[in-house]
Symmetry: C2
Subunit: 341 residues, 2 copies
């Protein structure tokens, strides 16, 4: 029995006679033979894995994206390797090294910074890359994103429309493109409404977590009442949940004293102590689409035309912001007012 035949049984079973095939398969079972993927890859020159690098696995937004990616990848017989950069440039770099050493088929990534040179190198050396949740200035990458400027605009417009004058923006680091864009959109909403850009008070954080949200909430509450924002637009839902916790734990009311709007519309947003208004992104769809773009690129090779897909976000209005604010000064919350359900 030659190794060539065994290889054929495994990879091109139609080439081998039925009973030989049987015999080989039985023996494989007997011996507990497991194909060595390393050798296979070495010979074939490429693997069956796709790298997915996200900013934060603890954020449901990204796990939902991962879900979409997995669906599309599995349908193609590929396996995904989920990497968590944790918004740290060095960790991201390390994972990219590992992925390149593994000769992955391609990489799906939400990059930490705006320095795309490492990705550029990756592409030049032949590993296709698709940006996720990030539009790109670079012409040599496919990308799937949501219009974050529009998202920020919609959120802030909604708050303005509800009569809020002093609006805060909480999130960070501002170096993160998503944060930047959402902020930009909010500023635009303000200026369009005749306010100054500087009227948007910024509470910058170092990350976008529940904990960071709580701290930002504390800071906001530290502002003297006369100047304290009556509404907060948070760069994502984890932040918003944190702010909500801080506000509630200080005995203030949402949206009575402080209205809150989040971003992503993760499942927990609707389940929060006060159901959270949020800018919805098609998370699974983003993941699926990105994967399909990547698979296309892998198949098409050099003839591939890069594409940018941009989805439109939608505002889900819930209790945390759904009340009209009285127009003059700080509204006193009457004690008899029923809390929003």
């Amino acid at each position: 029995m030659s190794v060539g035949t065994v290889s054929n049984v495994l990879n091109r079973p139609d080439l081998v006679a039925p009973d030989t095939r049987r015999r080989v398969l039985d023996t494989i079972d007997d011996l507990g033979f497991v194909r060595n993927e390393s050798a296979r890859q070495l010979r074939a020159g490429r693997s069956r894995t796709i790298g997915l690098v996200v900013l934060d696995v603890s954020n449901p937004f990204f796990t939902d994206i991962a879900h979409g990616v997995e669906t599309a990848a599995t349908a193609n017989g590929s396996v995904i390797m989920l990497c968590n950069s944790g918004q740290a440039v060095e960790r991201e770099a390390r994972y990219l090294d590992v992925l390149e050493e593994q000769r992955v088929q391609g990489v799906l990534i939400t990059p930490v910074g705006t320095d795309y040179s490492r990705l550029d190198v990756l592409v030049k050396r032949g590993t296709p890359v698709v940006l996720v949740d990030r539009g790109t200035e670079l012409p040599n990458l496919c990308s799937v994103a949501v219009d974050d400027v529009l998202g920020g605009f919609v959120a802030a417009s909604h708050l303005l429309e509800r009569g809020h004058q002093r609006i805060a923006f909480a999130g960070g680091p501002l170096a993160l493109r998503q944060v930047q864009d959402r902020h930009l959109g909010a500023v635009k909403a303000l200026t369009d409404a005749g306010q100054k850009a500087s009227d948007l008070q910024i509470f910058e954080t170092t990350s976008l977590t529940l904990e960071a949200g709580r701290r930002a909430g504390e800071q906001i509450l530290d502002v003297p009442e006369a100047r304290r924002p009556t509404a907060v637009f948070c760069a994502n839902d984890l932040m918003a949940l944190g702010v909500l916790q801080a506000v509630v734990s200080h005995g203030l009311r949402v949206p009575g004293d402080v209205a809150i709007v989040g971003y992503d519309d993760i499942d927990y947003a609707a389940a929060a102590s006060v159901p959270l208004s949020s800018v919805r992104q098609p998370r699974e769809l983003i993941g699926r689409t990105a994967t399909e773009l990547l698979l296309d690129e892998i198949r098409e090779g050099t003839s591939h035309q890069h594409r940018r897909v941009i989805f439109k976000p939608e505002l889900a209005i819930r209790a945390s912001s759904d009340r009209r604010r009285s127009s003059r000064g700080r509204a006193r919350v009457a004690r008899r007012t029923r809390p929003a359900d």
Copy 2:
């Protein structure tokens, strides 16, 4: 320049003269050489990756564990490959195949079923396996778990102590060992308190998600008021959040009409519309410990002694269950009663 020298520069730089080293490194930079991990693995016989197979990446409980695993793995220079079985036996099997083909250093897994034969085979063929969040009957595996029977006992005891007579258990599938154990613990609490085991009404679900929780909540509310449970112990926090949503959306009060206790104490539990009582598990610690056991096993080889680590859970009491129930019949919730903050 021989390949051997290059290999030495990369792996045992002290063996090679400083200026040769320089020259090699410069050339590597010039040429954009990237080490081929497949070839390296093929030659070395094993990889630097550790497989982590979890039941549900969307569940923060598991991403927190993943976090702990990553910390410990990175410290060791290993890379983790995060796989999501989604509580499906076939997907789990497929991932195990892939991991074995990749010749991973070892596997950390929360298995879907109770059939350990596949894992047994893996171990026999030389891939160390450590069970996560699951004790084991098998003597040939390390494991890190939390005493789920105790957890269930503590949760149910707390509800009994608060005066609840009709308690429900929501979660599933019961085939999941974690669910089984938590249920068992709850039953024990009831019988210890002189009730019958059958007094614990079971609402079995097919998975442990928010959505499943909502449906379970609906079912519970469908029970005629006279027999409706006044308290629900949920197999995990996602379920509990779902039940909470269902109850609140029907205009009932938590804990007034229905008290709720969850399990895991994920970050969102405390942030829920009614802060959720929950059985806390040391999630990151579980991940770290499991990884360390695995790394030990990898290092020690055949001389390795398997260990079982079992952590004790703790009950975090919050608003969702923290009220004494009046002793006779269904307590009427006075309208003037303030909602819990």
